[in-house]
Structures are given as C-alpha cells and as structure tokens.
Symmetry: C2
Subunit: 317 residues, 2 copies
C-alpha cells in the first residue's frame, strides 16, 4: 500500500505515472484542499478533481486540469450574464461540481462526496481530502489577501507574495483515513507538487506532519524544483516568500523533519551531492514528465527506490 | 400597459408574438411558477426561463423551451455520474439556473433573481413570478402524487390523472407588483396556456383571481383548445380531470368569473356561436402559431380586440 500526498498539476502528472505501474487498490491519495473555492455558488475542489480525473483517465493532458475534450458553453453563457469566468469550468467538469455541491448540501462530508464521485467515475484507488474542514490557502500581496485561485488563476501569479497562511488549519482535523493511511502504508510519497501551497496545506493540518514523523514507512519526496527553478507554476516565488531556497535544498528543508529520501532530477546531480553532505538521502532520476512514458518511468524509479530508502530521518536538526 | 398571465410553451409562443407588436416596456408578464423544481440541487423555474428567453430572442423555437442552439454536455456527464437526466438542461441554459440559485442562496427573492436575470439578458419587459412562495402543482395518479415535471416530462403524461392541486397556494401571496399590474393595466391577457397547470396555479394564489374580477381593464383569454383538443400537451387530460369540458366552453368555464372576452380559433366558429348564446363574449382569430408571422398576427388580432372587449363580466353565474 502506497500513500501519496499530492496537489496541483505536478501531483496529477505523478499520479498519472503511478497508476500505470501500481494496482489502483494499492494507492491512497491524500489530496490538498487548500485551493478549494465557492464558484458560481458551487463547491469546487480543483486538486481532488484532478486526481479523480487522472485516475479515471479523464484528465485533460493539454491543460493539466479539467476533463479532456471538454467544452465551455456554460462558461460563455455565465460571461454573457455578467458573471466572473476567470476560473474555467468546462461543461462536463461542471457535472462533478454540481454533484459534489448537491451531496454536501444534503449533509455529506467532503470525504463522503469524494468517495461517491470517485466511485461514479469508476476509480478504485482511495482518494482522501486532507481534511473535511475548510482550510484555505491565503496569499498576502500588495493588493490584499488573495485566495490561491485568485492569486494563481485570476491574477496569473503576478503579485509579489508577502505572506502565505492556511486559514482554518489550526482548527482542522485530518479527514477520516488520512492518518491511518500514513501510519499503515508501506511507503509514503510526496508528489512533485508545490511544497508551499500544494503540500504545505496538507502538512498544516494538525496530526498529519506528526504522523509522517512517526510512521515506520519510508517517506519519499520527488522534487518539483529542477535546475534551481520550478518545472511549472509559482512554486519558486512561494518558496522564496517562505524563506526557502529555490533549489532541491529548499525542498529538503521544507520536509526535513520527516523526509527519508529526496528524489531529484538527474540534472541536479551536483546539487544532490552537496545536499548529501548535509546528511540527506538523495537519489537522482529523470523527474520531468512530458510523455506518458516519462510519467511511468518516474513512478517506476521512485517505487524502485522505496525499498532502498531508510526509515530513519535523514536529518534531525 | 398590458399584463399577461402565462405559462408553458403556448404562453411563450404567444409572448413571442406580443413582443413583435408591443413595445417591451409596455408588457408585464405574470408567470406560472407551479412547475418549478429543484434539479441537480439548483432551483429551476421553467416558465420564467421560457419567458425570459423568448423576450431575449434566445428561446429554442424547435424545442419550445431552453436556449436555441444549446448543447447538452453537462447533462451527458451527469448521466455518466449516475444522476437523473430526464429533465433536459442545456449547457447555456444551466448558466441561468446557476445564477438564479446563487442569488436565492444569497437571500434574494425569486422576484429579485428574476429581475436580475432579465436585466442581464437585456430584457426590458417586466417579468414577475406569480409568487415568491413555493407553490407546487401536484398531479395525483395511480402511481402516486407527482410534481408537474415528473408527470409531464419524466413520464410523458401517460398516467391517468386523478387529481390536481397546488401545494402551498393557500399560504402564498402574489409577488410584489402582480396585483398592481392587474389593477393598473389597460388590458389583461391570458395566454393560450394550459388553464389547469399553467394559468391555474397563478389563479390559485390568493388575491390574483380577486384582482382579475375587480380590475377595470378588460380581461381577454386566448383558448388553448382548438377544435375540441389542445394544440399541444396535456391540457385536455387535465381539464377533463378537473371536470371541465375539453372545448372552448371548458376554457370559458375555467375563467368565467372574470373573463371579458374569449378569443378562439376560426375553426371553432360554430362552438363560438353556441358559447355566445350562454352570454360569453367570444371572438374568432387564427390562434394556431407555427411561424413568427402566425404569432405576430394572433398578437395583433388580440390587441385589436382589446378595445372592443367589454369590461363587464360576460357571465356572472
């Protein structure tokens, strides 16, 4: 059994690789919900959706989010009605938001709604939201505090980041099954997701970070930073804003208290050598995923490395 | 100023004619909401939508409901998710349901949401729901009590009708502006809608029927029954179930306490003559609307007849 902490487009790509080489029944996905938003009156959970879609074989590979081949007629009509349309919801995608919102309005938890949607999509892997509470990533900028989607999608991450916090995290609890999955897994993987706003919110839920420290299973992270820059998105900006070096060392630092092994790209071999000298376990692999084969190859490499990963923290400072 | 009581596809066609010959600012539409339903968790008001769409020039003429040229990708996806899809909601149509549901969730009344949607669609005629309360047409059948949409759309009006009632009507109040519109109009028209489940719910809201009796303006109805049968839909079945003859005489009877003039189709000239003998004012016109010109012609004929209509009730029994 493998538990994966994931969020964002990098996470979805990594899971797309894993599903090619691990039986879905052996996968538990613990998913960031810090990007969740109310949009057009509906509850939207972009990272839960991406994971459900990728496991169902429905994710748009061109866009990295939403349903492949989707249309946007409702979005156009919402624009004609004077409603905001910067968050692009496709017509088929909308069905999942409608169903989730309906289930939650009926009193179901996000976990329960997630389970029902996954089942309806034919997904047999276990998808867990990090929490059933509302935890919202908030980005402080000169124009004010923004939700992650406002910062990332609406404003194209152009605003200087002054702060990041996870509103509601202190009062949140891990969703049912999350801590169990971490404690009972044979390995825990951290997808090459943004450490600040994709993995960060998960770690901010009290109990999850502690479980990662305590579990007997190896905790293996794949670096989203390659050659000193993020493969995609605002990870670099956000890491810098959090005082982390934008490098594999920064990733290692973000996870230092529970990480057993960091998998970095082959082009970071020199940086990996330096990082090893500070006491971290680091391995190299081809981590940039462009094709289906790239994804499978990375998943295969990471799974092969699991058995070699020590379960003792690589660094305890 | 003309006030029109309307519902269903016959009502939308009639309003499509009126908008061709009456300036929109001079039209107030008082619309049936007895067909309203919660669908996919959203509040849907089929008759309000049809009237808004027809006035905006967006109504599908092929279907008689929904948005012209609409697609149904979200509907297909909802079906794939195991959700009911017998009520056909198009992708563009969905935008109006989303906006209305959002506005109502924010505390707006149905009147206020209707006004905002009409304004967003560029409609300058005044569209009023009959009431802001929930009044639901309920059809008693051997398989149990059905909502109108269940009876009509889901089950193709195949079930024998044992009863019709309007749940919630006794406690309902006319929406703001409805009674005023009836009392201050120069004429009140009843569209060739189903008298039982399109006009009936409007008349069941306490105060509306009384206003129709009291207004000084002529009240003119167009018969939806032509040659002893409805032009379309279950009007005949429902009238029979309510003990009304399925004829122009049945329509006259449904409205007898406030009707000043009944406009019937030219092919009902003989029946019209008989009805006149019972004291009703009846005029003939071509009432079957297939083309845009048919609609305009009927509207023109009805408007021309208004001035000739007596404001005294034609029959007071």
């Amino acid at each position: 059994m493998i538990a994966v902490l994931t969020g964002g487009t990098g996470g979805a790509k990594f899971v797309d690789g894993l599903r090619q080489i691990v039986p879905p029944e052996e996968l538990t996905l613990i998913v960031n919900t810090g990007d969740d938003l109310i949009w057009w009156g509906l509850y939207m959970s972009p990272d839960l959706d991406s994971i459900a879609y990728v496991l169902a074989g429905l994710l748009s590979k061109e866009r990295g989010w939403g349903v492949k081949g989707d249309t946007f007629y409702c979005l156009q009509a919402m624009g004609d009605l004077g409603q905001p349309i910067w968050f692009h919801v496709g017509d088929r995608d909308l069905a999942v938001h409608l169903l989730r919102s309906k289930l939650m309005a009926e009193g179901k938890t996000l976990s329960e709604a997630t389970k029902e949607i996954a089942s309806r999509l034919g997904v047999t892997a276990k998808i867990l939201p990090m929490t059933n509470s509302r935890v919202e990533s908030r980005i402080g900028t000169p124009v004010g505090e923004l939700s992650f989607e406002e910062y990332f999608v609406q404003r194209w991450y152009q605003d200087p980041v002054q702060s990041v916090h996870f509103a509601g995290a202190a009062e949140a609890q891990p969703a049912p099954g999350v801590v169990d999955a971490i404690m009972s897994a044979n390995a825990i993987l951290l997808a090459p997701s943004n450490p600040v706003t994709s993995i960060g919110p998960i770690l901010a839920v009290p109990g999850i970070r502690e479980a990662l420290r305590e579990t007997q299973a190896p905790v293996v992270a794949v670096s989203p930073i390659v050659g000193g820059a993020p493969v995609a998105g605002p990870a670099g900006i956000l890491m810098a804003a959090q005082g982390l070096p934008v490098s594999i060392a920064g990733v290692a630092q973000a996870y230092r208290d529970f990480l057993d092994l960091l998998v970095v790209d082959t082009r970071d071999a020199a940086a990996a050598e330096k990082l090893r000298e500070t006491g971290f376990h680091v391995q190299c692999a081809r981590t940039v995923m462009k094709t289906a084969e790239d994804k499978a190859q990375l998943a295969r490499a990471v799974v092969a490395l699991i058995s070699g990963a020590s379960t003792a923290p690589a660094s305890t400072d």
